[in-house]
Amino acid sequence: MISLTRKKGDLLAVALAIILVLAMLIALFAYAGSGDNVVTIKYDGLVVHKMNLARDEVYTMKKEDYPLLQGDLTVVIENGKVRVDEQTSRYNYCELIGETSNKGTAIVCAPNHVIISIEGFDENATDWPPRGQKK
């Protein structure tokens, strides 16, 4: 029978879960490295564009090129932070996430099948050509 009143074991179980989560995050940030400045845009699991976080840039993904988008989606890098400007998905999820400059973080636009992450430094891949376009 499950007890309906709180036990000491509850705190222990929750503490263990939090330790597990923190360990995962520490491992992630350690993996991400220290020189991260590349913003990677993935569409449906494929990398379509890379941008330098240190350089202001606006990149627009057109629905005609990327059919799984709910509408045109714009990724903006401004003052060392990346954000998404879009008005097309339900609740505008991607905009709600706000802007980020932290390594190892990601902006997930699940309704649009787009993930924008800040990953490891790769000088040769900062201007990755979008799918179907020449560099």
Binding site: L4, D10, V21, L25, G104, A106, E119
Partner: protein, 168 residues
Amino acid sequence: MKTRVLVHLALFLALAVVVNYLESFIPLPFVGVKLGLANALGILVLYYYGAKYYAGFGVLRVLLSAVLWTGFGSAFLISLAGMILSSCFSLIVKSSKCCSIYGISIIGAIFHGIGQVIMVAILYSTIYLFSYVLVLTISGLVTGFIIAGLCVLLIKRLPIKTISYKEN
């Protein structure tokens, strides 16, 4: 399975699916964060009918939601992963007998979020959204506690003897 149990579980399942659907219309400040009211029905099934029915209930709820609303795309896989991980850890905590309904609910809520993030990471081939686990963990602590409190209120008004059948 007795007909009475079958009817009760079907009612719980129908309620859970409808509550889950209605909940999707409540916008919350963080993406992917939900109160998880449908999980309260799962916790009630665990309390009244035991582990076997709880595991089946969770999977059936995800399947039925997919049939009725979301389809069998990425949303289904994400829900299923969250449900499976959540159910596994809830049952581990329950079998340890060291936790109350609060611990079971909170652990379930936390690992539901972790399961969903793992599946999204697999589907979209990125590990970087694991940073979002922190938001889901904090929200899981809060929502898991609220859901457990809600279940305690409901169980006190609907004691186990009124359900009249429990296998374990």
